[in-house]
């Protein structure tokens, strides 16, 4: 603990979340190979790629959930495997695709679970105000007294987003990370755009945000950077216009794609 503290005093945490030559095998299958990627706080990085490309696996490695078979993932130049779990939990939160909750909890109690890595563990007035703020930021404030089990899929998704935001709300000991695995899944078009707008807003406030998205047009519209994965390899990483190259995408998805110009000077991807 004191060693870590001294280290902090001498070195401002870089906040960089880095995958360095990451390989990952699961059940005998190679799901990630030679993936090197540096993610910076203050940016919205979107991971795209066909089904089975390794997007969620890469997110799992960057969250510290999956240990790479080779290579390493690090935050503040410290390998994730050397972080204490509660300290890591205060610096990065992840919205998973499938959260199970079979017990009756009030919505604000679910969001309060996000405060469990913090010293007060959900008991202080500060935790209460963080929960309030996170509920508002996720447009779920009006649901706060409802039973979570009685919510629709889209409402649950927003409540889980609020829980994840509450986990890393104050960013006290360095830039915090939000990892979002298909945050738009199950949401209507208005809420899809809202979630991405919120993700971008968090990035502008200094969070590092990494989102796995299937919708290439949402990626093109909101991402600061896009990383394109296919068959466990990182093919392109850069600005949306660089990474979402129609020729490369057509080959990767096996579907001819082209850019359709929009009135506002932007573009959309659509089938030829």
């Amino acid at each position: 603990m004191n060693v870590a503290l001294d280290w902090r005093v001498q070195n401002q945490p870089t906040g960089l979340l880095i995958a360095d030559d990451v390989h990952l095998s699961r059940g005998g299958r190679r799901v990630l190979q030679e993936v090197s990627l540096t993610a910076r706080p203050g940016r919205l990085l979107v991971l795209v790629g066909p089904n089975g490309a390794g997007k969620s696996s890469l997110l799992g490695v960057l969250a510290g959930l999956l240990a790479p078979s080779l290579g390493r993932a690090s935050l503040d130049d410290l390998p994730l495997s050397q972080w204490s779990l509660p300290a890591l939990a205060r610096r990065r939160a992840m919205l998973s695709q499938h959260v199970q909750l079979g017990f009756a909890f009030r919505v604000d109690e679910v969001v309060m679970l996000g405060r469990s890595p913090h010293a007060t563990g959900g008991a202080s007035a500060k935790d209460g105000s963080v929960v309030d703020a996170a509920l508002r930021a996720a447009q779920a404030w009006h649901l706060r007294e409802r039973n979570y089990l009685e919510l629709s899929g889209g409402e649950r998704q927003r409540v889980q987003l609020a829980r994840v935001l509450a986990q890393v709300w104050e960013r006290s000991d360095g830039p915090a990370w939000l990892l979002l695995d298909e945050p738009e899944a199950g949401l209507d078009i208005a809420h899809q755009h809202f979630v991405l707008q919120q993700a971008r807003k968090m990035a502008q406030q200094g969070y590092g945000v990494i989102a796995v998205l299937h919708d290439l047009n949402l990626a093109a519209r909101y991402a600061d950077e896009v990383a394109l994965l296919a068959q466990g390899r990182l093919l392109r990483h850069g600005s949306p216009s660089h990474a979402l190259d129609p020729q490369v995408l057509s080959a990767v998805y096996g579907l001819p794609l082209r850019r359709v110009p929009l009135d506002d000077g932007g573009w959309m991807l659509g089938p030829v």
């Binding site: 969250a63 959930l65 204490s84 779990l85 509660p86 300290a87 890591l88 939990a89 205060r90 939160a93 992840m94 998973s96 499938h98 959260v99 199970q100 909750l101 079979g102 017990f103 009756a104 909890f105 009030r106 109690e109 679970l113 996000g114 469990s116 890595p117 563990g121 959900g122 009685e150 986990q167």
Partner: protein
């Protein structure tokens, strides 16, 4: 035998001050008091273990018996009742109820250890559940076989044991079982925050900074210790571990920081009340407490089930 409250307090006072004790005082101090304390301890242990298992398995209908502990303890006890005579001819000191209780305790722990070792071969909680079901079934088959082999006297002992009773309460017994039970009652509530996080799934618990792979063996060990000790002393008393946490969830919600201490309190109250009722309702005979809790708990369980079904249809 009806002893007024003033006499009970008088007996306690004479006992604490070291005065000479009357016959009634002996009934209060040597029979009633340890029995009430035993009921409180066993009720608290069963209810708190039930709440912890329901959290661990993320299923509000889970029972402490799911990890094989009750069936293992039953097999231990029945083995001692039926085959114990073979060894205890030599060591007749052990032959009494302490031998049966010891065998039940050992059987509960052994079955749970086996379930845990089999269940950890695959990730997730499902394997533990399946191993628990399988080992319980095998243990109950063993109980069935031994019942078939038992003599008439043994059958009577065996039936009496399996109905559950707090009648064997004594200060020595309390002293023996209070260690594993108090250990569980003190340590289980400390896992409340981790159990709350675990309700979201094992991955979410990791992301929130907890280690489910460490929580599992800790909870299984504590539950095995306390439930084995409970079953060993009183026989199988069902439904306390299921009903008490359920009632509390309806009152206060599912937060384990409330639920675990609440279950300790609720279990103690419920089993003490149930035992008092079972002693008095058909006095001077005693209704076996296991029968009473099953008689009350069974319909309650059905009501929960039907209520859930109706709720599903409505939503």
């Amino acid at each position: 035998m009806n002893i007024p409250l003033s006499e009970v307090l008088g007996a306690l006072g004479r006992w604490l001050s070291g005065s000479e004790l009357s016959g009634d005082d002996h009934v209060v101090l040597m029979l009633r008091l340890p029995r009430v304390l035993l009921a409180m301890l066993v009720g608290a242990a069963l209810a708190c273990s039930g709440a912890a298992m329901q959290g661990l398995f993320r299923n509000p209908l889970a029972d402490p018996g799911l990890i094989g502990v009750s069936a293992g303890a039953a097999l231990g006890a029945v083995t001692m009742i039926v085959l114990g005579g073979a060894f205890t001819g030599v060591m007749s000191e052990l032959a009494g109820s302490f031998g049966i209780a010891g065998a039940a305790f050992a059987g509960g722990l052994a079955a749970t250890a086996l379930v845990y070792m089999l269940g950890r071969r695959r990730p997730g909680i499902g394997a533990l559940l399946l191993a628990g079901v399988a080992i319980s079934a095998i243990a109950m088959a063993g109980v069935g076989l031994l019942t078939f082999l038992a003599s008439e006297n043994q059958l009577r002992d065996l039936t009496f044991w399996s109905l559950g009773s707090l009648g064997g309460a004594s200060w020595q017994r309390l002293a023996v079982i209070s260690l594993p039970m108090l250990l569980a009652l003190l340590l289980l509530p400390r896992s409340a925050a981790a159990l709350n996080a675990l309700l979201l799934g094992e991955q979410e618990a990791c992301l929130l900074g907890f280690r489910p792979e460490r929580l599992k063996p800790l909870l299984v060990t504590l539950v095995a210790l306390s439930v084995s000790a409970a079953v060993a002393t009183t026989g199988v008393i069902g439904f306390v571990g299921l009903v008490v946490p359920h009632l509390l969830r309806m009152l206060w919600g599912s937060d384990h920081r409330m639920l675990l201490p609440g279950s300790i309190l609720g279990g103690a109250v419920l089993l003490t009340a149930a035992d008092t009722f079972s002693r008095t309702v058909v006095a001077p005979a005693e209704l076996p407490i296991g029968v009473l809790t099953a008689l009350l708990g069974g319909p309650f369980f059905l009501w929960l089930l039907l209520r859930a079904r109706i709720g599903e249809v409505q939503s």
